[in-house]
């Protein structure tokens, strides 16, 4: 080991954070929007996988990865719409439906995706932000995907809209007190349906990132539970879109610890470090369960707290 080792590890972690955080970010934003309207969608893992498959297939056939991204979003919106529709029916538990939708989403993705495991589809390009540094490692780490920027912009837009637009207030109102919203003539079911659909769209786009940028291929083990982690992220971020982005970067960074250490020759505890995001999730859940602030920020209508 030499002096630059810690630096290399840090750069690798930074690169990892920038590279792998985007799907977390999109799913977390989608879930944030859904939960703000008072509904839980645990099915976003399935949406993510279906989005990944759809994006890859459309990109392969059309030759345009961005068309793939759009298709992934639409596939996600369709799954979200189904979830939203089923949850509107009386006496339906959104947590149970969400789990069913998760299995459904991954199931149809595997079913239709069999044919796309072998072929290579055109992938999304990247933007180099680090060439000026003159440091090859830093330059690689700072290669980012336009979707990440889109994600950050969506988060800022959501954060602004929740406070400054009629729609934003109506979504928060439906999520916090359905009777009040109904007393104002707001159709809570419709708001939740639309929020769930839009949330599905975002999660689908997150899936496109997985298959079209990083890791950049379609296979059945692509997501490995990232969609579920992202749902936990929303609780950690206390239903704030900006904090969702920060949490996604934190998750990306912890996920990169293992590979980063391996790249400098530290192989001890490789699997342990790879589990870091999951261990982090666990601790976050424990910490936020006892957090008084989380209790204040949670939308009052969420069925997980009723």
């Amino acid at each position: 080991m030499n002096d630059s080792t810690p630096l290399i590890v840090l750069i690798a972690i930074l690169g990892g954070a920038l590279r792998v955080s985007t799907p977390f970010m999109f799913v977390a934003l989608g879930e944030c929007l859904t939960e703000k309207s008072g509904r839980v969608n645990l099915g976003l893992e399935g949406t993510l996988v279906l989005g990944a498959m759809t994006a890859y297939a459309v990109s392969y056939h059309s030759g345009s990865p961005w068309l793939g991204v759009l298709a992934a979003g639409l596939a996600g919106a369709a799954l979200g719409g189904i979830h939203g529709f089923i949850c509107k029916l009386p006496k339906v538990n959104d947590v149970a439906v969400g789990i069913a939708m998760m299995l459904f989403g991954t199931g149809i993705a595997f079913f239709f995706g069999k044919a796309y495991i072998q072929p290579t589809a055109p992938r999304l390009g990247s933007i180099s932000l680090g060439d000026w540094t003159g440091n090859a490692q830093l330059a690689t780490a700072l290669q980012i995907n336009p979707l990440m920027i889109v994600g950050i912009l969506v988060a800022i837009l959501m954060w602004w809209a929740f406070a400054n637009t009629r729609w934003g207030l109506i979504v928060r109102m439906s999520g916090d007190s359905a009777p009040s919203a109904m007393a104002m003539g707001v159709s809570v079911d419709l708001v939740r349906f639309l929020a769930t659909t839009a949330g599905g769209f975002l999660a689908g786009v997150g899936g496109a990132f997985l298959s079209l940028y990083y890791p950049g291929s379609w296979n059945q083990g692509l997501s490995s539970g990232q969609g579920l982690m992202a749902v936990a992220l929303v609780i950690f971020a206390r239903w704030d879109p900006i904090r969702c982005v920060a949490a996604a970067f934190l998750f990306g960074a912890t996920g990169a610890i293992g590979p980063a250490l391996q790249s400098v020759g530290v192989t001890q505890g490789y699997y342990f470090f790879n589990a870091a995001p999951y261990i982090l999730t666990l601790f976050i859940m424990i910490a936020s369960a006892g957090s008084k602030k989380a209790g204040r920020d949670v939308p009052g209508e969420l069925s997980i707290i009723k």
Partner: protein, 517 residues
């Protein structure tokens, strides 16, 4: 009207208050007639009280007016013109506003956000600078203010209630319906708000319909009243022409009321229940009980008055073992008490918590099972402490159901299917049928009709006369003034004031409830 000028419409001082009239309004739910041909007139600029027992149809009437229900028959006139109200939004557009028993403000939004979003023409993108300016200008015209920049969840009940009313005025509603608006307020706050509304009706700005149980509020503020009983309008008229006895008679009809148990003037015994420095945290972690100290003697009722949300519910939860203590001790007959099932049994501590369906029963279990909660694992209900015998349980349940007149189809019905009064009676039967040393009671008569109220109060008094130490937490000051031997006022999680009931009055108690010395 002799003046020729007054016949011309005046643009300056058009009376804005709206009149309301229902004609033959009828609403049935299945075979049950909730509203039976109700005709009622509220003049423009009047303060109209709507009286009636629970289940008399008051809520059904106002909900039919507000468009939540569609009346089967009858029509609604606003300002003399027939109006179609298909849903609450129509009602809002017509100038009808309602303040509910529960708050309808969205807790996570600020006051300003709540006001702006409630407007039908809320802009798609809100220019907060402009809206804040408009809101300030609006508040300057109003007789009272409420904070607009804080999330509603952080406001006190009185502030929330003011904000609810401000919201309706902001929406330019010209007839306000208030459904028991003062139950969450101190007497002073209630008087203040009703007084302000009264002023607005006198000026002809609005008309008000108020549903209330408090005759004091009717006689102090209302001009006219209507009484509903079993879905029918059985009487009414100008308030100044009626006595409260007449109002009560109209409300209850010929239902016989059980004689109130008289307070035996027995000398109170030794201290039975002692609360020493009780401290506890609320659901959100903030301290809600800050050193509660109180001694209750046997044969004494101590009434705890206070505005809801000052720690009373949490105190009851601590005493019934639902909330852990952070600090402090509870002593029963000078021995430290821990809330275990065994200790409740040994020390004969019983309780009637508020919302009994939630706090004292399991809604889906049968009446018989719920009645056996205290003793299902003791003989004769159980052998060896775990082998249950349904036979004795059912026999005992039948006896209690008969003795306490619980109306249920059978002991095997789910207790959740019973009406509120009967759930309360069932819990009463379970808690009071044996020997009671300590009794913890919270809002025992909330939402019950006259007959049940009288019966439950007399049961509590009987226990006191038999020597129980009774802690009565109530949001109804009249209930405390009627039952208690001593009153203790709770404010911000501590006992702010204690006095024998004969040595204090409503105004003094109210001042302490509001946190003033």
């Amino acid at each position: 009207m002799s003046n020729a000028l007054s016949a011309a419409p005046s643009l300056v001082s058009t009376p804005r208050a709206m009149s309301l009239e229902t004609i033959g309004m009828t609403k049935t739910f299945g075979s049950f007639t909730a509203l039976d041909n109700v005709s009622l007139k509220v003049d423009a600029g009047s303060f109209h009280a709507l009286l009636g027992e629970n289940g008399a149809g008051k809520s059904t009437l106002v909900k039919s007016i507000m468009g939540y229900y569609h009346a089967d028959k009858g029509s609604l006139l606003l300002d003399g013109h027939e109006a179609q109200v298909r849903n609450p939004r129509d009602a809002r557009d017509l100038g009808l506003g309602m303040v509910y028993q529960h708050f309808t403000l969205v807790p996570c939004l600020t006051g300003a956000e709540n006001l702006v979003i409630s407007r039908a023409d809320a802009p798609a993108v809100i220019d907060w600078k402009k809206e804040k300016k408009a809101l300030d200008a609006f508040l300057d015209r109003m007789p009272f203010r409420a904070p607009l920049d804080k999330p509603v969840s952080s406001l006190a009940a009185g502030e929330k209630q003011k904000l609810e009313i401000l919201k309706l005025l902001y929406l330019d509603q010209r007839l306000l319906i208030l459904d028991e608006p003062t139950s969450v307020l101190t007497p002073q706050e209630a008087d203040e708000i009703l007084g302000l509304l009264k002023g607005m009706t006198d000026r002809g700005d609005i008309s008000v319909v108020i549903i209330t149980h408090k005759f004091r509020e009717v006689t102090a503020f209302a001009d006219a009243l209507s009484v509903l009983r079993r879905g029918k309008r059985v009487g009414g008229g100008l308030v100044k022409d009626m006595t409260t006895d007449e109002m009560a008679r109209l409300m209850i009809g010929d239902t016989p009321i059980r004689q109130r148990a008289l307070r035996q003037e027995n000398t109170t015994g030794p201290v039975t229940l002692e609360l020493a420095g009780l401290m506890a945290d609320g659901d959100e972690g903030a301290s809600v009980l800050n050193a509660v100290n109180l001694k209750i003697h046997s044969g004494e009722i101590v009434g705890i008055a206070g505005v809801s949300g000052n720690g009373q519910s949490q105190l009851v939860e601590v005493l019934s073992g639902q909330r852990p203590l952070r600090d402090g001790r509870i002593f029963v007959r000078d021995k430290p008490f821990e809330p275990t099932r065994d200790a409740y049994f040994r020390l004969k501590i019983f309780g009637l918590p508020e919302e009994p369906l939630k706090n004292a029963t399991v809604a889906r279990m049968t009446v018989a099972e719920n009645l056996a909660f205290r003793n299902f694992d003791r003989p004769p209900n159980a052998k060896f402490g775990w082998w249950l015998s349904p036979g004795p349980m059912r026999t005992k349940a039948r006896e209690l159901i008969a003795r306490y007149r619980v109306k249920t189809q059978s002991p095997e019905s789910a207790i959740g299917d019973l009406s509120g009064g009967n759930v309360q009676r069932a819990v009463l039967a379970r808690e009071l049928s044996g020997e009671v040393d300590v009794l913890i009671v919270a809002n025992p008569c909330f939402g019950l009709d006259f007959a049940s109220v009288a019966e439950i109060r007399s049961q509590i008094m009987e226990q006191r006369n038999k020597g129980a130490a009774v802690l009565l937490v109530s949001e109804d000051l009249d209930e405390i003034l009627e039952l208690a031997d001593r009153v203790a006022v709770m404010s911000e999680g501590t006992i702010a004031f204690v006095s024998p009931i004969g040595e204090t009055d409503r105004a003094t108690i109210g001042k302490h409830m509001a946190g003033h010395e």
